[in-house]
């Protein structure tokens, strides 16, 4: 657990509070205190650091408070600043020097504003829960027992749902009002910080779940947002659909990537697009058993889809050959594809405190959740959902987030949008660009060749700089093809 920064100096920038046109009457007020920068990375880049003091519930400004670190990397460009929202949801960029430098490069001389989210590791409070989610999560553990145990699907699912219930009970006993730790609460924090820093308008950029949060930001505070840069976005209205639909969207991505090899002879077999399905069924009928120490991992069809989702193949031709072989009963290449278990990973810290992570992904659903019965039926119909997104277990998170009913609709905006995606991203690639294409009259998209979910880099910076210079003008995307 990282320590919170020691507050050294006081810097007040409390501005008049005027509710934004589309936000509700919440009191978005922040007190900013200048502080020592909480990470070495921020010190190296000479950031000006603050601690923002905010109401836990923006409707109750006299109630409990939360504190989060904020850092401004001053630029020499007089234009509106760029606020960057990391993903997961709940992770932080403040400790990563290389990423910060790349983000500053992309800001093109504008002020770059970085911050940690409410409830995150350096915030107060930090919404911690037991670290065993690091072992259960199909994202964090490539041999997650929820996917690879030999027990039947509902028993494995129960490991996850038990965790959700325990974490929920722990947070509840801590007294945190965790219904406010979600996109909606964060958007009000950022709006308050914007005002406290004295910026009239801001550009917002965000990655993955952060690429969704910036859309929430623009939905509730449209007059404060100059432009939107959604990078591999994972917006609420897609992640809070029935997960079976999202799972099939990922399958469509694999089929698209495999399609160029249809009919090709690969290692003695002609690849068919039906081999993805056939390999899956072959593995379901006879799973591949892998012994590692005292544990036995069962790699079935769900395991195959889990691997494709969390470790997008770099070489789809090799994958096509593997699928054709499995469909044909030849499993010789499977062991290398599955990889060697590195022993049972112990409890491990996640990119965000797990309590925040679950409060956020489940809280954004508000009252609009599937029931436990509906979710169990979905897992029964498609066990591969166990290796998909952790939010599957949200019906076991007993608290509804404090969000308006329309929180999970696609927003209607009149703000220029740039969507940057990675060619190999199964979650949040070009289909998300499609989802966003109609939310605003000006939406530009750019897909970076060879990149997966992570798009940070020179090309992304080149695109962002151009876009920030003139968000309404078509950008030169030539770097995306290199």
């Amino acid at each position: 657990m990282m320590k919170k920064p020691e507050v050294k100096a006081f810097f007040a920038a409390v501005l008049a509070i005027i509710g934004a046109a589309n936000a509700d009457a919440r009191n978005t007020k922040s007190t900013l205190e200048k502080s020592a920068c909480p990470t070495e990375a921020l010190q190296v880049v000479d950031a000006v650091c603050y601690t923002a003091d905010l109401p836990e519930d923006h409707k109750a400004p006299d109630g409990a408070r939360v504190q989060i670190p904020v850092a401004v990397l001053k630029g020499d460009n007089e234009g509106a600043p760029l606020f960057y929202f990391p993903g997961y949801p709940g992770e932080s960029v403040l400790g990563y020097l290389d990423d910060i430098k790349t983000l500053r490069d992309g800001a093109g001389g504008r002020d770059l504003v970085l911050f940690d989210y409410r409830g995150s590791h350096r915030a107060s409070p930090s919404l911690d829960c037991d670290l065993s989610l690091g072992r259960l999560s199909a994202y964090d553990n490539i041999f997650s027992p929820v996917v690879y145990d030999t027990a039947e699907a509902q028993t494995r699912f129960k490991k996850l749902t038990d965790y959700f219930e325990t974490c929920h009970a722990d947070l509840k006993s801590s007294g945190v009002a965790f219904e406010h730790y979600n996109d909606y609460g964060v958007a009000h924090d950022v709006e308050a910080i914007r005002k406290a820093l004295g910026y009239k308008k801001i550009h917002v950029a965000g990655h993955s779940a952060g690429g969704g949060t910036i859309l929430t930001q623009a939905r509730y505070f449209p007059s404060s947002v100059a432009s939107i840069i959604a990078e591999s976005p994972w917006p609420t209205w897609t992640r809070n659909r029935a997960m079976i639909d999202e799972f099939y969207a990922a399958r469509e991505h694999y089929l698209q990537k495999l399609a160029p090899f249809v009919g090709e002879r690969l290692q003695g077999r002609i690849f068919s697009i039906l081999d993805l399905d056939k390999a899956r069924r072959a593995l379901d009928a006879m799973p591949y058993m892998l012994n590692a120490g005292e544990e036995t991992h069962r790699f079935d069809g769900a395991g195959l889809f889990h691997r494709l989702y969390v470790q997008p193949p770099k070489d789809y031709k090799a994958l096509a050959a593997l699928l054709a072989a499995i469909a044909d009963g030849d499993r010789s290449g499977l062991r290398a594809f599955i990889g060697e278990p590195t022993g049972t990973p112990g409890a491990q810290e996640g990119p965000a405190p797990y309590g925040l992570y679950l409060s956020w992904i489940c809280g954004d659903m508000g009252a609009d959740k599937l029931s436990k019965t509906e979710t169990r039926a979905m897992v029964q119909a498609e066990p591969a959902l166990l290796g998909f997104e952790v939010g599957l277990a949200c019906p076991w998170w007993d608290t509804e987030g404090d969000v308006p009913p329309e929180h999970n609709s696609a927003p209607v905006l009149d703000i220029p949008v740039l969507v940057v995606t990675g060619e190999r991203d199964a979650c949040c690639g070009r289909r998300m660009a499609d989802e966003l294409r109609t939310i605003s009259p000006v939406v530009q998209t750019a897909e970076i060749k060879g990149r997966g979910h992570r798009v940070l880099g020179e090309c992304r910076s080149a695109l962002v700089r151009q876009f920030l210079d003139n968000p309404a003008s078509p950008i030169d995307k030539s770097c995306t093809r290199k």
Binding site: D245, I273, S409, R431
Partner: protein, 485 residues
């Protein structure tokens, strides 16, 4: 792009052009040879438009040029522009535009002074042979009949699948008994016909446009004969490489489209209920648990979750807000709006239409080649998702015994170098912009235009505006402003 071309003499009566062996680097070494004979135009529409009509004589099997011959009608609507002509490929697959005057006038307008070439496909209406089967298919097809028994019962999903499978088997048997070489009636073989007709008409390069399955056929044409195709206009394309995937995977993108189109209404109040992202799923579940049963004369129909998916696929309501309201009501147990939504039976006359069903199935199933799912696999899929019965005719192809004479690469998306324009409808449940996106993965020179508010039919003024611009300069970025209107 200025294409070199030549045209046949206007007075040609019986023109035979025996083109030299044209070895495309992409098509295999089949000799694409056609004999064209001027003929009386076969339809009133073509006569009204003063088309020049021909009968093209072609080998049934392009690998066996001395074998059995077939013929197809071809019509040229002459233009005054000295530029490469536009060949139009209708959908179906296997349908014909030759008798639709209105359609032909719109196409001619889009061709903007170029020669417009229209034709029937091999096995199609006006061709010899015509691959007809029992016309009762219209009463089974989920496309034509609102309350087809395949979707609305009676019987279990697998029994209903067997019913459609039996039709495929009977139709296949009928063609076989007629001596038709069924394996040759595919999109792949049609491409060889068209290239032969192109040569016989003396065109060096052609523009190709096609709708739906025809939008897929133009992509195959361009893949196999890249040197003869100047540009490609694929309208609401239904290409082989997507339609020949596992049906369960193809159903999913349509569901995702519904959720996307409905997503602006999430959180909106409809009476006592608030529309949820899950209401589509829930309404399906509620109807599966307790279907609506209605009687129309002697027909009793069951409207369950599969029927709901069928209806959205073939007839997505224009009023999406109204649909959101209905789904949230149904999900919450209020069925008062359902009967109006379900409607009454449509009239489905049993007659031969412009698509001979034998050809339709030959193409739909034949282009899969040997790459089909088994009957067992399809049965398992239907048991898991009965909504597939109201989806696409590819489902029952394991019951079509013949594998088309196509190479395994037929089901691969084409990597095209020539300019391509893909026109889609924003609300097309089958063939919208996801297909354009897929094509762009392998063909970088693709421009796309998505028509606001339109479904699978993209025909009309905006389509023509786009087509005319594109034909004038296919490499130039289009002004797409009409798509937003």
């Amino acid at each position: 792009m200025s294409a070199m071309f030549s045209r046949i003499a206007a007075s040609a009566v019986a023109l035979t052009l025996m083109s030299g062996a044209f070895l495309s680097s992409v098509a295999h070494a089949r000799p694409a040879k056609a004999t064209l004979e001027a003929s009386v135009c076969p339809t009133d529409a073509l006569r009204a438009l003063e088309a020049k009509c021909y009968t093209a004589d072609l080998p049934e099997d392009h690998d066996a040029p001395r074998g059995k011959r077939i013929s197809v009608p071809v019509a040229v609507l002459k233009g005054d522009k000295k530029a490469a002509p536009l060949f139009f490929f209708p959908g179906g697959p296997g349908s014909s535009a030759l008798d639709r005057e209105e359609r032909l006038r719109v196409l001619k307008d889009g061709a903007d002074g170029r020669d417009l070439v229209v034709f029937a496909y091999r096995g199609g209406r006006g061709a010899a042979p015509e691959l007809d089967c029992d016309p009762s298919y219209r009463r089974l097809s989920a496309y034509y009949r609102k309350f087809t028994p395949i979707v609305h019962g009676p019987g279990s999903p697998v029994e209903r699948l067997a019913q459609i499978g039996a039709y495929y088997e009977a139709c296949h048997q009928r063609l076989k008994e007629q001596g038709v070489d069924i394996a040759q009636y595919t999109e792949y073989n049609i491409a060889f016909d068209i290239d032969a007709i192109r040569k016989a008409l003396g065109y060096k390069a052609i523009h190709v446009a096609g709708h739906s399955a025809g939008g897929g056929a133009v992509l195959t044409q361009a893949r196999l004969f890249p040197e003869a195709v100047a540009s490609v206009i694929a309208e609401a394309p239904w290409p082989v490489w997507t339609r020949n995937r596992a049906p369960i995977d193809e159903l999913a993108p349509s569901r995702i489209l519904y959720t996307r189109l409905l997503s602006p209404y999430i959180g909106q109040r409809f009476g006592e209920h608030t529309f949820s992202a899950f209401d589509l799923d829930r309404a399906q579940d509620v109807l599966d648990a307790e279907p609506v049963v209605l009687t129309f004369g002697s027909q009793t129909i069951r409207f369950d979750g599969a029927a709901l998916m069928h209806r959205l696929y073939v007839d997505l309501p224009q009023d999406l807000e109204g649909l959101a309201g209905l789904l949230t009501s149904v999900a919450n147990g209020d069925r008062s709006g359902l009967e109006a939504f379900i409607g009454v039976p449509n009239s489905v006359p049993i007659e031969q239409g412009d698509t001979p069903w034998g050809l339709y199935l030959s193409i739909v199933c034949g282009d899969m080649g040997a790459d089909k799912l088994t009957k067992t696999e399809i049965i398992a899929m239907v048991e898991k998702e009965p909504a597939l019965l109201g989806f696409e005719p590819t489902l029952a192809c394991p019951w079509w015994e013949t594998s088309g004479d196509v190479p395994a690469s037929q089901n691969r998306p084409p990597s095209l170098k020539m300019p391509v324009l893909v026109i889609t409808g924003e609300r097309d449940t089958c063939c919208g912009r996801r297909v354009a996106d897929e094509l762009r993965l392998v063909s970088p020179s693709v421009q796309t235009a998505d028509l606001a508010g339109r479904g699978h039919s993209t025909f009309g003024g905006c389509r023509n505006t786009l087509v005319r611009q594109f034909l004038d300069n296919p490499a130039k970025p289009l002004d797409k402003s009409c798509t937003q209107k």
